[in-house]
Subunit: 520 residues, 2 copies
């Protein structure tokens, strides 16, 4: 018996095995599709690539377009290639890739952005496919095995699979025989609509509250395609001095909080984003004074394996394994060591406020920029250009025990090494409000905003977080705004609306946010 047949323990499904070219005719222009996958891991590859080849070969660009609903971003060889072949009409919620971003910002692709926990839920309610009776036409799900009951054993992520298979009319399974069976690494809670929901009985990061596979109606399975394609692993972000300085500020803050009795010695479950700062923070903790740590997050990067190896990290709950190619090798090569310390959950659970608040997570994420009153922009450069999406940052920052955002204080432009200040008077797009954030950190310092009124927050943020090149400009703006608004008896949160975006306008025109003065 082939490996493929062995992995499909539900024997009656064996006659659904098809070569990939046989599924192409199932796809019609305008269909709504749901894929497995989350922050390039566990996504279908064989079918999307075959569809892209089909479009390319037959000149079908723009004639075979789909509405694409996926837990978050998937590999560039799939969604980004689809974007370049004009195969995407709508795309929800979080994406990555040069071509898909160009399509979104030039108006060809209609992207909807939503907190990931709400995305999964609302997709399941049929809110995004109202015109299609609340249904998805086809789901494409990467699996590593199928149980006797027909349950789907997923691969390196859970994404929004439980919701997707519920509302899909047809299911195509991509059975990936090139990776081990992940059976036992997932904890799946079947979505139930209100008013009949029950509590999620998760009180520790390692609590199981569901089943190890996704229950489906096997009658919906129209094809099983074998895949041998690996995930297009996430490349590792370089460490740098700025990230190290930020991480050091954060670790010092944790020590201070433990000393003052506001955090337990083993801290609280950590949520950490992706990128070099997140890596530096994890690196700092792996070398730091805390032990018995836990992680409750969306994505595990390679540094988490070092964190496990340091003996400081006890357990990690995540939506996906977002390793590099090297990282996956290391994970598979030490399966016994790592697999017992990891549980993967769907984003409707991992990002749900219920466990995040109950566990008291410490949330850490990088914005594009934040402002002097602690609003943060995570999605739209210049207030208009989409990068990736809000992802789960709002789910975590709104509900964490401690909500931390970290960024370099300045970024380079083509003509000015500190042409962009990440601390601005007013962010041009707000993804996280002043009501959500506790602590802001740059390489310059850390501002603990808890208990501070807006004007006190502003002064602390300017003092602690702003880059020296911008401190005088920000102080001048804040002083002018205070004077004007308090005199008008409207100064709870002073702003000057007639010039508030002057720095951003200058950046677009002159390549730097360093303005000569604040005159209108």
């Amino acid at each position: 018996m082939s490996e493929l047949h062995k992995r499909i323990r539900r024997k009656s499904l064996h006659d659904k095995i098809r070569p990939v070219e046989d599924v192409i005719p199932l796809f019609k222009h305008g269909m709504s599709l749901g894929w497995s996958g989350f922050t390039p891991a566990g996504y279908p590859k064989a079918v999307p690539i075959a569809l892209a080849d089909h479009v390319e070969k037959n000149g079908l660009q723009g004639k075979l377009k789909f509405n694409l609903f996926i837990g978050a971003s998937v590999g560039v060889e799939t969604e980004d290639r689809w974007a370049s072949l004009d195969m995407i009409d709508r795309r929800w919620p979080y994406q990555t890739g040069k071509n898909i971003q160009a399509g979104i910002n030039e108006g060809r692709i209609r992207m909807g952005d939503r907190h990931l926990s709400m995305f999964a839920q609302d997709l399941g309610y049929g809110f995004y496919t109202k015109d299609n009776g609340g249904r998805l036409d086809i789901a494409i799900i990467e699996c590593s095995a199928v149980t006797e009951e027909g349950g789907l054993v997923l691969t390196a992520s859970c994404g929004a699979v439980p919701e997707i298979v519920q509302i899909a009319d047809k299911i195509i399974i991509e059975l990936n025989t090139s990776i081990p069976s992940y059976e036992g690494l997932h904890d799946i809670i079947e979505p139930v609509s209100p008013p009949n929901r029950l509590p999620y009985l998760i009180s520790r990061v390692d609590d199981r509250a569901g089943s190890p596979y996704v229950r489906i109606d096997t009658d919906k399975v129209v094809a099983i395609v074998e895949s041998k394609l690996p995930d297009n692993g996430r490349s590792f972000s370089e460490q740098d001095d700025t990230s190290e300085a930020i991480a050091s500020n954060i670790v010092d803050f944790f020590k201070f909080e433990v000393d003052n009795g506001r955090l337990p010695k083993s801290l609280l479950p950590l949520q950490s984003g992706v990128g070099s700062i997140a890596n530096a923070v994890i690196g700092g903790l792996a070398k730091g004074p805390f032990s018995g740590l836990n992680v409750w997050t969306e994505v595990l990067q390679d540094t988490m394996l070092d964190f496990f190896d340091s003996g400081k990290l006890d357990f990690a709950s995540t939506v996906s394994l977002s390793f590099s190619v090297e990282g996956f090798k290391r994970f598979y090569g030490n399966w016994e060591k790592y697999s017992g310390k990891v549980l993967m959950r769907p984003l409707s659970i991992a990002n749900h406020p219920e466990p995040i608040r109950r566990l008291g997570c410490i949330a850490m994420n990088t914005p594009v920029e934040f402002d002097i009153y602690a609003h943060a922009n995570s999605t739209l450069v210049g207030g208009t250009r989409m990068i990736n999406g809000i992802g789960g940052s709002g789910d975590f920052l709104r509900n964490a025990y401690l909500s931390i955002m970290h960024t370099p204080s300045a970024r380079p432009t083509k003509t000015d090494p500190t042409g962009i200040t990440c601390v601005v008077p007013h962010v041009p797009h707000v993804d996280h409000t002043e009501h959500d954030l506790d602590v802001l950190v740059t390489e310059q310092g850390l501002a603990d905003l808890r208990g501070l009124a807006p004007r006190d927050r502003a002064q602390l943020i300017i003092d602690k977080c702003a880059h020296p090149d911008y401190k005088p400009l920000l102080q001048e703006y804040f002083d002018m705004a205070k004077k004007d608004c308090l005199a008008r008896k409207a100064g709870h949160e002073p702003q000057l609306l007639d010039r508030v975006f002057k720095m951003q306008v200058n950046l677009a025109k002159n390549g730097t946010m360093k303005i000569d003065n604040w005159d209108i």
Copy 2:
């Protein structure tokens, strides 16, 4: 035995009974205080009024100032009078009153604004009183009885009492003998800090998950003061045609959702704010086609009594009874009829995302304004002047099954009956983001935004919600912004930052948002 002694069933506390003037010396300049109370109900009156009299009589204005932490707003005869006597340094989180608002916006009172569910939790963590060792110096709690165990039976609200009594060094009880004992109307869950929290076992609005009283350390009780002062009831908002039209749009939408299978026939638990639109919506539902309804909310207004009387409303869970003087008479006069259908919860539970998401609430709130991409401003007029605070609107709108905001499309200024458009290109302050809101409603129409990308949302909001006086201006702005941003390949959410607040600047200068053109 006096009524006071009868109500204090914990006999050992009888010798803590004091005349109100005896507690005045307990209060020192700079202390941090926690009060019971929520949206003028269940707040202490005798002690705050006696303190105000003391300050006034002895010319202590500015010399006896406090940091005031209360679940939300309380009666004007207490906090607002304190503001007028310069007795407040910091005030968290939501307030009402002319004097307190003046103090906040002129820079005398440092107000912190926070989602109510987070406020309660963070207060309990000691985050707002870090400089005071995470403690409150004195709690003043209005009660209607004290149990044998020393448990506090609260009155017409629960507010943040469970957190306040945990972190208070001293507790003063105001035992109100002028109202019935509310025993049995509250469901109190004692706050536990992470990582040791358990699920809140609430799966229906009428589920009890805690105890009918607040457990305290009775050694902290330094005085019991008798009070005979009633709550300063909320005056009833007038109905008007605009509110009726908005309510009618919402009821029609509910019918449509039921017909399309996206809502059960008995809808889902309703959260409704305060004011004339909320009253009109409740009035519309009381006459509407739905029955077996439930309410999960923060405040019950008088109209809820009519809603019960209509036979359509089965049960209501709330933080407070925010009735008018007449409403309280009606409630007390029909105790048997109403009291079995109402449960009051602390805001740490009522506003907690856990039950709100599980129950699948329908959230309805009024903002100051919203913008064409569905960001809403709930707190700061002109982006700088505080009105009341965000309250629980974010807790509900972020987590509801359906998140609805409703407002008149325009408001009058002194010189122009439609001088203010409530639909703007960009709100100058964001309390609720585009990632949070599903449906926007004005008297002009309803925009169902679910599943729409930003530019599609903008067109629908302009078409359905904007006032005819502003529709051409908004359309012109949107078209200009689209053209500019898409050409720059930065058009996911088009804006023109060099003129985005032109309407607001014009309002401040010329008393109307009707600008002549969009030129810079």
